[in-house]
């Protein structure tokens, strides 16, 4: 064996090690960040949003429209509009002691929220507003709505007086980008989830 052949084999071996290292890093990079809600979150959480099926509101539901027709949010019978920020709409199903059991809200996009950062933005924003124990349960991007596409997150948190679980979506439609929120207290979630999901599925902006 010549010195040249030995040198070449060493070089080849070194290149092989380099390739193996890069492949290992690529494997970690593809799974780690995605699992925490990054670019792959849509695939991982798609099952959590399988209920999302764009459709007109059910018969008998009331329809609230944001100013200038930027969005339309339907809410079920028995729910009633409640005080909300100017330019937004909220409806609630009231529970014992005047507390909100179920909640729907539509708000024009107004901050730095984007389809790409929605899940992290929303949970961070909830924490910033004083909610405690904010936990992301699922997230997805590229979801189809009646009038556009959206990003959604399912999370839960505690306020000063109650615990809530929410579905919060940023929907980019043909007229505007609007946030729609559907929330309920955890012990009512199983009962109210079908209504919350129908409200989001029928949301248009």
């Amino acid at each position: 064996m010549t010195a040249t052949a030995t040198s070449s084999r060493r070089l080849l071996g070194l290149a092989g090690l380099l390739l193996a290292a890069v492949l290992a890093i690529a494997g970690c990079g593809g799974a780690g960040p995605n699992a925490s809600g990054g670019g792959g979150a849509a695939q991982r959480s798609a099952g959590a949003f399988a209920w999302l099926s764009p459709a007109a509101p059910p018969a008998g539901w009331a329809l609230a429209r944001l100013p200038a027709g930027r969005a339309a949010l339907a809410y079920p019978p028995g729910w009633r509009p409640i005080k909300a920020d100017p330019g937004t709409f909220s409806a609630a199903l009231m529970g014992p002691h005047g507390r909100i059991s179920g909640y729907l809200n539509a708000t024009p996009r107004q901050g730095a929220e984007k389809l790409a950062n929605w899940a992290s933005f929303r949970t961070a924003h909830n924490a910033d507003e004083g909610d405690r124990g904010v936990v992301r349960d699922a997230a997805a991007r590229g979801l189809r709505f009646r009038s556009g596409t959206g990003s959604c997150v399912i999370d839960h948190y505690a306020t000063v007086s109650a615990h809530y679980r929410e579905i919060a979506c940023l929907v980019q439609g043909s007229h505007a980008s609007t946030v729609v929120v559907a929330a309920a207290v955890p012990h009512e979630w199983a009962r109210l989830a079908p209504q919350l999901e129908r409200a989001i599925s029928s949301f248009a902006t």
């Binding site: 070449s8 070089l11 080849l12 290149a15 092989g16 380099l18 390739l19 890069v22 492949l23 890093i25 690529a26 990079g29 593809g30 960040p33 809600g37 990054g38 670019g39 979150a41 409640i82 005080k83 909300a84 920020d85 100017p86 937004t88 909220s90 609630a92 507390r99 909100i100 909640y103 809200n105 539509a106 708000t107 107004q110 901050g111 730095a112 929220e113 790409a116 950062n117 992290s120 933005f121 949970t123 961070a124 924003h125 924490a127 910033d128 507003e129 004083g130 909610d131 948190y157 306020t159 000063v160 109650a162 809530y164 929410e166 919060a168 609007t178 946030v179 729609v180 929120v181 929330a183």
Partner: protein, 75 residues
């Protein structure tokens, strides 16, 4: 023999470089979801926009009083 080995090494290096670039792309695309970065951006944002008042700042809506969080992107 030497030519073949040189080509093989060159191919492996090219493949490694390509995969390295792809990995960096994934990291960059998902880096924006970091909670701290988002919060820092959010805090900065608060200083510039306040179209909808919160925290019992005059509107007293439900999310200022223990109710669910509404959809506003500001405080």
């Amino acid at each position: 023999m030497r030519t073949k080995l040189t080509r093989a090494v060159a191919t492996l290096f090219a493949l490694a470089a390509l995969l390295g670039g792809a990995t960096a792309g994934v990291a960059q695309a998902t880096g924006g979801t970091h909670a701290h970065a988002s919060r820092a951006h959010h805090k900065k944002h608060h200083r510039h926009h306040s179209r909808i008042p919160q925290h019992n700042g005059g509107d007293h809506d439900s999310d200022n009083n223990g109710g669910p969080s509404d959809g506003d992107g500001n405080i």
